[in-house]
Amino acid sequence: MASGTSEAASSAADLKLQFAPFSSALEAGFWHQLTQKKLDDYRLDESPKCIKGYYYNGDPLGLPTRLTLEFSAFEIDGPTPARCCSAIGTLYNTNTLDAFKTTDKKALLEKEAKEIWEAIQSGAALKDPSILSRFILLTFADLKKYHFYYWFCFPALCFPEGIKIVQQPSMLEQVFSAKQVSALQEAYDGLCIKRGTTAVPYFIMKYTDDAVQMAALEDWDAFFADTKKVTVGVYDPCTLSQHPGWPLRNLLVLLAYRWGSKLDTVGVLCFRDRTLQGSRSIQHSLIFQIKLPELLHNSACPKSVGWEKNPKGAMGPRMVNLSECMDPKRLAESSVDLNLKLMRWRLVPSLDLDKVVSTKCLLLGAGTLGCNVARTLMGWGVRRITFVDNAKISYSNPVRQPLYEFEDCLGGGKSKAMAAVDRLTKIFPGVNAEGYNMSIPMPGHPVNFSQATLAQAQRDVEQLEKLISEHDVVFLLMDTRESRWLPTVIAASKRKLVVNAALGFDTFVVMRHGLKKPLLGQGVSAGADSSSSCSSASSSSSTPAGSAPTVPGSSLFSNIPGHKLGCYFCNDVVAPGDSTRDRTLDQQCTVSRPGLAMIAGALAVEMMVSILQHSEGGYAVASSSDDRMNEPPTSLGLVPHQIRGFLSRFDNVLPASLAFDKCTACSPIVLDHYGREGFNFLSKVFNSSHSFLEDLTGLTLLHQETQAAEIWDMSDDESI
């Protein structure tokens, strides 16, 4: 490598000029535009297209010598950025990867080289030297994957023996006086004005101690008529201190061809013109002397080089994957994630988004609540959403169930679970949604009509057990109370977090079920289990050993740890039965106020997110309304047990209640029977009246003559 000028004298005889090759630089806009052209314009047309790039001689030190193509590359007559030189190229866009691979690159290069050579021979290159900086771009655009394969070629004609350096490259300021430097700058600016441009790629110059003259290449003969001292200028995009950039190469071939026999040595100015911090400088331009090799006028086209090496330094094409910025699906995904990250960056720095996004949610029910829960989960970036519902979409649904449309009701109606999945995927293709069109067996709804119905019920139970196992959070969003029983039992048994939402006319409850302590490991002794099933009256004595007893005067229901919280059935004094049969017509057609499902659905998801942000998750102590004034336990605030809403008063309260030891769904005796007998136990519950569960749990004994306080489940979903 050529180094300091001091040692140059000894080795000068052997020194050959070496050029810095162009690096291709593509702006994203170029690929966007190529995509558009391919889709709208070229289609299957593979014929060569004219494109335009540009290069710049004002880069700060250390940047590679670039040929840049931007979106405007296809407007051949469009403007070139100020102070840049344009380069005209030929685009070969193939239709297939195979065509890209098998294109004869050598032939392409030779064809271009021949044209340059002919322009040199004919003199056309003198009049329009821009032909000297032509390029080739071979592309294949895989618009399914948004992968772009490309290979640039900057054709250069070669002298077999290279070009001898007579005088080493030096910075202009070491050779020129300050006066000469400014005269040169003026001369260049003058030439630009004369030619009505802001950059001149090639020029010729002569200078004295106090003056510099410049002219266009085509004025050569007149300009140098009175002198043997010839200097050519090239607008040089290279920033290396010892090497000129590529555009000089073909110019020297032109010079050698036309004047090689007459000229002994030629001075070369690599004109570099940069502005740093508002100060313009050309002092770092390179100036040197070379000896032009001779080129015979009748010689054949010299051999040519120019295919760009890939980043590994090997001869080969490059590929860029733009799916992230061009594939609409990927764009949607990254925007969704970004939106959430903004929430973290701006508002809640400690928010653990991954915990939310990666949570697998099982939605039992795809009606008004299910639709709204799913939409809110999507808003939180949750990717895995599974629906279970056996209903079909009816004409009354779409106005209240935001995942369905009128069209979905036609022909008897699509399955809700399936249609919900389709819609989620349309809203956001990045979602991983699944639907199960199946019914959930219920207490008091016999399944033993036939062998077939029994087998079906068993399959349904197994499927539900499997689904609950595979998910992290189970949402109970059905429209009957008894359909919540089976998933409550299974989820309690499997220690899965349950979030339950139920609607009245203008009231709702959103609650998390108590999360029983893990089956294995510490704290699962019978004692611990029984303590968790105490009624509220004994709650103070049931606080775990080591923790402070309840402060006298404080609410009995404050500070209940997650494992002692009740489930949806804990407050009931009747076992779930066939409520659809028992209900009066009046109750059956009761609908809730339209906003209620959205409010409750959204709260159910927000409650889940708050639970996930708590370090103890489902075991978190229940926050109550009283805690609203205290330091919140999570970055998002409280983690209540229940939210009960009263739309008539536009009011929510946050009650907490203990698990009930005679609960028909989560009491130890029920879980124990289910654990030991499995489907046999369940089928007894399905096939018997509600007294079976009441007898089992001891509820019958306790039965009082009170009415059920409130019936939370009223459907807005059933057609009359």
């Binding site: 070496q18 630089a25 170029f30 070009i163 290396l240 190469r249 911090q277 490059r318 992230e324 970004l338």
Partner: protein
Amino acid sequence: MSWCGLDEQSFHLCCQLLLQQSEQLNDGWSWEVVQGSDEGYLKKTALRVVNINPSRKWDLEGLNSESETQSCQDTERDQSAPVSTDDADDFKGNFDEEVVEDDSVCSEAAGSSLVLQYEYHILFSCSYSVPVLYFRAFTLEGRSLSLEEVWSSVHPNFRLRLQSSPLNTITLQEHPLLGQPFFMLHPCRTEEFMRPVLQEAQHRHRPVNFVLTWLSVVGPVVGLEVPLKYCTLLRPAASPD
């Protein structure tokens, strides 16, 4: 206190002035007109060299920007690459049967640094009545940088400040005129941090180019330097003190 925003007409005047000065300083700003409309924006492109660390996750100071980088969904970083070597022969086809020796090529290539192309746009936000800086960055292959990559290329000093400062933060937005995804520095606090600057200037009867002053504050955050010479052009020797 008085409102310290900008109306659209003043924005255009400020831009014209900035363009004139940029022309003098050769600072590279241009006015781009959107095809088929009379709307436009200031545009400048610039290159920045970034060092890559071996894992191909790179940033300016070799600092890892805590969890942001990790949470960026383990996307394969091989988004732009030479075609794998297995395929290389396949790709060359009939090409290198006769390898063309070229000893006139200088082998002084760029090292392990990555060159990024930045594109900066200044638009007027009608809703905030302030200028807004939009930008995007790509590799030389034309691959746009993700927000994580852009974020990691923000100087660590700014990174901390961005999370709490009035400059607020970098967000991904659709370019209002081009409809393409761009990053932007959110303008919601612009008026707030511009107010003291403008009041000070008013107090001293100094001319202020709102866009230029604003740019000199927000630009450096995303690697856009505003030469000091703009100020001397704006306020020639005549200024008191």
